[in-house]
Symmetry: C2
DNA sequence: GCGCTCTACTAGCGCGCTCTAGTGCGAGTA
DNA sequence: TACTCGCACTAGAGCGCGCTAGTAGAGCGC
């Protein structure tokens, strides 16, 4: 490859174009285009030759030019929060489903210094046809406006009346399963650490209260305010231990707002000599990779990230391909995963 | 906004173009372009009017068309492994630095079903001018070829002789600090759980051996093969406990391959009644958010993700802007963070 | 009056691709 | 022979923008 044979880009590297391939293969530019779009209209022989030549000179279709010409980008934008492990599970599911439906995926991360709005802006200027928001914290108005401007799907966060598809898991069912499990084991004093204004935590809190009442345990109902962080679990642990010293017995079971909170709780209890599940049962929520951190495994409620991702992509694509369609809501069934941190309550 | 006023995209939504703005503002398309590129050549009055009109009709520059016309995309591609918490720390640092230098960032994740090669391919076809690979596992040949085709920076993974910039932390120094800390506390039987073929683990292993020898402890040298996962730490814990039952005393300190491994170890030890740091000290590596999971905090070696990200972006940009420039290597100083899991060895 | 410069703006080509509307040609049919 | 038909292929417009080369007009000195 001699200097100047192909277009030279900013870095001084060569970037061959379709015209280069066409010339070298002795065909027209249009034919190369046909081959690369896998469309009928080229003989098998020519097809092979074009592909071979393209590979030789390192040709790679330019998606910017492609989408400009095509009018459609066939690209889904995904806004996620860097740091959230559950989002990465979702992303893992989004890629294959998008590919299956013939769409590309563009990721844009929100960080402490880069707001959700900015991340979404970047996606839109890259001509994403639809935007998938993972666990958005944005204002309802922002979501609604975005949803009217383009096709948008919100995962985990539900905002009534916003013109957006929703995909979330049936928080209430997950909590109910966990609570039934604990009650069946014989627990009565079951405490809930909630998740503040985190996605889904209001629903979980409500479901906890409902379950306690359904089992006739309204007298034992207790919600400890928290967050979806390890720190929150640690603090709750300290609180419960302090109370024990003051004479109030430990609850026999705790339903944490999520796995991170459960892990924090476990750490502080274990260190104080409280053995789980002998002295106390702990149930998490999410089935994140933290669940495997305990040698005995964390009993938790699994949200099927793969399925949620699939729904999100499908909803986006279906709305793109039928603009008349109204936004929908998908509720994915969560599933209790019983591992080692739950067992019968201690005998008194 | 009546139907058909602007171009209509696949979803049936309107997508105004520069021409729409120009017409409505009563100026030429070129002038709108000038305004949006923030270039001299427009009066303040016109500038304001153009911006107002653009905002009104919801105009948003199309980055595909822009980069096609500009010839340069001013975009950095970042390949990362979904699930790796350290990568998300790096991404947080990449965004602001890229913005400061006037570059956009495109993320592409490698997952179990989406290889690094595929992720990089996607970046290149989006015309990224440079590619930043976070903790790549790719073959040296792949890296080298990529580096010759475009500007590439490898973070955390060092491949000698590949035509690529490297940014990594001084593993040896980090390990040495941790080892000196332990030896100063009085430890002699210090075991290392290594990280298999994970990024940096070969260097850490070597540095551990060197430190043991430097302190005259070659007789106590012991490397337990592992991985950079919680599971690996848990298994090591089991191994050590089994050995204790067989009469071999526990080592007084363990240097884990990374934080995840350290956390797994801590969990299995704590559950078996081994108190940290009274009975054994544990030191991690990375200072990931896991370090806060222990109520007492994990003693660990911090890799400065922000600084590493900054270097990676700067190297990429500087090579883009001066193609003559040869790839460089940045070594970032790690720093021991002493928290609660390290202390003097038990008295015998 | 002339040429000159400076500011504010415009005309129009081209980036690399897709896609519609063709052309040329050999085989099949009347 | 004249015609259609289908296949393999091509010409060329246009996607939304950036950018170079240009123009028109105001202001200035001489």
């Amino acid at each position: 490859m001699s200097e100047g044979e192909f277009t030279v880009d900013a870095s001084g590297k060569q970037r061959p174009t379709m015209a280069d391939v066409a010339e070298k293969a002795g065909v027209s530019r249009a034919l190369v285009s046909i081959v690369f779009r896998n469309q009928p209209g080229a003989s098998e022989e020519t097809r092979q030759r074009v592909l071979r030549v393209a590979d030789e000179i390192g040709y790679r279709p330019d998606s910017a030019a492609r989408l400009l010409a095509r009018g459609r980008s066939r690209t889904l934008g995904v806004m996620f929060t860097v740091q959230q492990t559950f989002h990465t599970n979702l992303i893992e599911g989004i890629y294959p489903e998008a590919e299956r439906l013939g769409y590309e995926v563009l990721l844009s991360g929100a960080t402490s210094g880069r707001s959700e709005e900015k991340a979404v802006e970047a996606l839109l200027s890259h001509r994403c046809e639809a935007v998938i928001l993972l666990g958005s914290f944005a204002e309802p108005d922002f979501l609604d406006e975005l949803g009217r401007r383009t096709v948008a799907v919100s995962v985990s966060r539900r905002v009534p009346h916003a013109h957006v598809d929703f995909v979330h898991s049936a928080e209430a069912k997950g909590v109910r399963q966990a609570m039934d499990h604990l009650v069946e084991l014989g627990h009565r004093t079951i405490v809930h650490i909630d998740g503040g204004r985190g996605p889904g935590s209001a629903e979980r809190r409500r479901a906890y209260r409902a379950a306690m009442r359904r089992h006739g345990l309204e007298a034992e109902e207790r919600v400890i305010p928290g967050e979806h962080t390890e720190q929150s679990g640690i603090e709750t642990g300290r609180l419960l231990l302090t109370e024990r010293e003051e004479g109030r017995p430990l609850p026999t079971a705790v339903l944490a707002g999520n796995d991170r909170s459960a892990m924090g709780l476990l750490m502080s209890l274990t260190r104080a000599g409280v053995e789980v599940p002998r002295d106390m049962s702990v149930v998490g929520y999410d089935d994140s990779h933290l669940s495997h951190l305990m040698p005995i495994g964390l009993t938790t409620v699994r949200q099927d990230a793969g399925l949620m991702a699939e729904h999100a992509v499908r909803y986006a694509v279906e709305r793109l391909e039928d603009p008349q369609r109204e936004p929908r809501e998908a509720v994915v069934e969560p599933k209790l995963v019983v591992r080692g941190t739950s067992g019968p309550p201690p005998k008194r």
